[in-house]
Structure formats: C-alpha cells, structure tokens
C-alpha cells in the first residue's frame, strides 16, 4: 500500500471502452439441460421440449441466470489482466444486478458485449482498493436485448 495512491490514468482511460471484445454464443438445448441439471432445477420449461412447445414461450427456455454465464470466465480473466492498476494480485466480484427483458431460448445466438462503466480508488483495511464497475449486454440474433448486467468487482 502506498500512501496517497491513485488509480493510474491508463486504467481510467478504459472507462467507456470494451473490457472484452464482443463474443457470440449459440445456446443449444443440451447446454440448457446440463445447466438446469447442475442446479437440480428440473423445471419442464428447461427440459421437456413437448411441454415447452405448448407454453407461452413455444420452445425450451433457459434457467434465469444462464445468460449471465455466457462469457463470464472471459470477463473474470479480463478484470484481473486487462485493467492496468499496478501489481494488485487479488480480485473479487462483489455481486451483480441483472435487468431482464426476455427469456433466453434454445437456439438463440447471443452476442455479449462488455464495457467498463466506472473505476474508482478507495483506501480500505486491505490497502488501496480499485473498484471496477462493468456493464454487459446480451442480445439475441434479432438484435433484441435479453438482459443487461451491472457487475461490481474490486482489485487490491
């Protein structure tokens, strides 16, 4: 910890820019099944094509948070490696908020974009901490917004 430490300008320059280049994921029903089974959430909307076809969705949909798993490992890696905050080995995701606009459906081709919204420095018990806020948007193949996630992370 350095007294009077500030966030490097190179890190501040990333505000408003892509943290991870846009990525595209095709969501197939087998992947939805594996995620639902991992949660042990056996809702037929996720697992039973006949049941889902007769529902208002017309097809298999994904468990609520599956959309936010798309590109999440890449985001977490970028939080540790792409923001030049100096030799800070520790990082943590504190939490996130997601606004949902429509369900994620089997067969959707989802584009994930991720921008840095805010970077701020703060003294803490653990030393000088850099708080990072990212915003990710998830759009389907029709250009419709599925969800918007705002994530709070910290490096120290």
């Amino acid at each position: 910890m350095t007294a009077g430490e500030t966030v490097p300008q190179a890190a501040l320059d990333m505000i408003g820019k892509d943290l991870v280049p846009p990525m595209t994921f095709e969501v197939e029903k087998g992947a939805i099944r594996r995620l639902a089974e991992a949660i042990e959430d056996l809702n037929p909307l996720y697992l039973d094509p006949d049941y889902a076809r007769k529902s208002k969705h017309g097809t298999i949909i994904a468990p609520l948070l599956m959309v936010t798993t798309l590109g999440a490992p890449e985001l977490q890696a970028a939080l540790m490696t792409k923001i030049p905050v100096g030799p800070k080995k520790n990082g943590i995701v504190r939490g996130f908020e997601v606004e949902f606009f429509r369900p994620l459906k089997a067969g959707d081709v989802v584009t994930v974009s991720c921008k840095v919204e805010k970077i701020e420095g703060k003294e803490s018990k653990l030393g000088f901490m850099v708080n990072i806020t990212t915003v990710r948007t998830f759009t389907n193949q029709k250009g419709e917004l599925i969800a918007r996630e705002t994530m709070a992370a910290a490096r120290w």
Partner: protein
C-alpha cells in the same frame, strides 16, 4: 412448479416464499463448472482452495444465486417474469452443508400496466446465519387483466 399460476392479488407484503434446501456436493460443483464453463479451481481442487487459505473448496457464487433464482421462479409460476435480480455474496458456502434458500415479499405496486412485487431472497446455513442476500423484482399477472 408445473402449470402454477400466481396472481398479483394473491400476494401480500410479508408473505414468505416456500423455503427450499439444497445440499450441494463436490460432484454438483463440478457439474456446474462444466455447464457454466467456469473452471476456477477453488471450486473443485481442495489443494488450490487450501493454498488460498480456505478449509475446503467453495460453492460457486453463481450456483448459489441460481438456487435463489429457482426459488423465485418456482414461486412465481410460468406467467411471472423476473424483471430484475440483484446478487450479493457475503460468505462462502461449502459443499456437504445445507444451503437454506428463503424469500419474503417486501413491496408490491402497480406501475403502468405492470403489477410488480419485490422480494428479498437470501441463503442461510442450518443455524440461520445469512450468507447471500439477494433481491428480485417480479412482474405478476393480475386478475384484472
């Protein structure tokens, strides 16, 4: 909850969501790792976890949040829609321990055509200590519509 329908009018502030208990195993953590492609070793390699100062591997935060998402989507039924979901993690859950998933209705209101219900959601251990406080904002169908 297959075919369940919950109306806005049937929900009162203070109502508790039916509690759900999960008992994740290391095997379930590995299934989640594969399904989500999150291969952070803290969730399946005890040596890595212990080098990081943890007594054991830890349950993925995202899996814990998915348990709470299941709690609210089961409760609201197929005609409900989660408009917003807010995630916070305060403490680590460990495999082999019960995760008690709970929720409570904290507010309800009508905004335009939307009948909105707010819920606090949280996980706790068998002793009732809160680990992961979450919130959900849900749109429910109305009998008036």
């Amino acid at each position: 909850m297959v075919g369940k329908k919950l109306y806005y009018e049937d929900v009162q502030v203070g109502d508790e969501l039916p509690r759900m208990v999960k008992h994740p195993t290391t095997r379930q953590l590995v299934k989640w790792a594969g399904a989500s492609q999150d291969w952070n070793e803290l969730h399946y390699d005890k040596d890595v976890a212990q080098k990081a100062g943890l007594p054991n591997v830890i349950v993925q935060g995202h899996l814990t949040s998915s348990f709470l998402a299941q709690l609210v989507t089961d409760w609201m039924g197929e005609d409900g829609f989660v408009k917003k979901f807010i995630v916070n993690w305060k403490r680590f859950h460990f495999p082999g321990e019960d995760i008690v998933c709970r929720g409570k209705v904290t507010a309800k209101r009508v905004e335009g055509n939307e009948h909105i219900v707010e819920c606090d959601l949280w996980t706790e251990n068998a002793q009732g200590e809160v680990y992961a406080p979450h919130k959900a904002i849900v749109v429910l169908p109305s009998k008036a519509q």
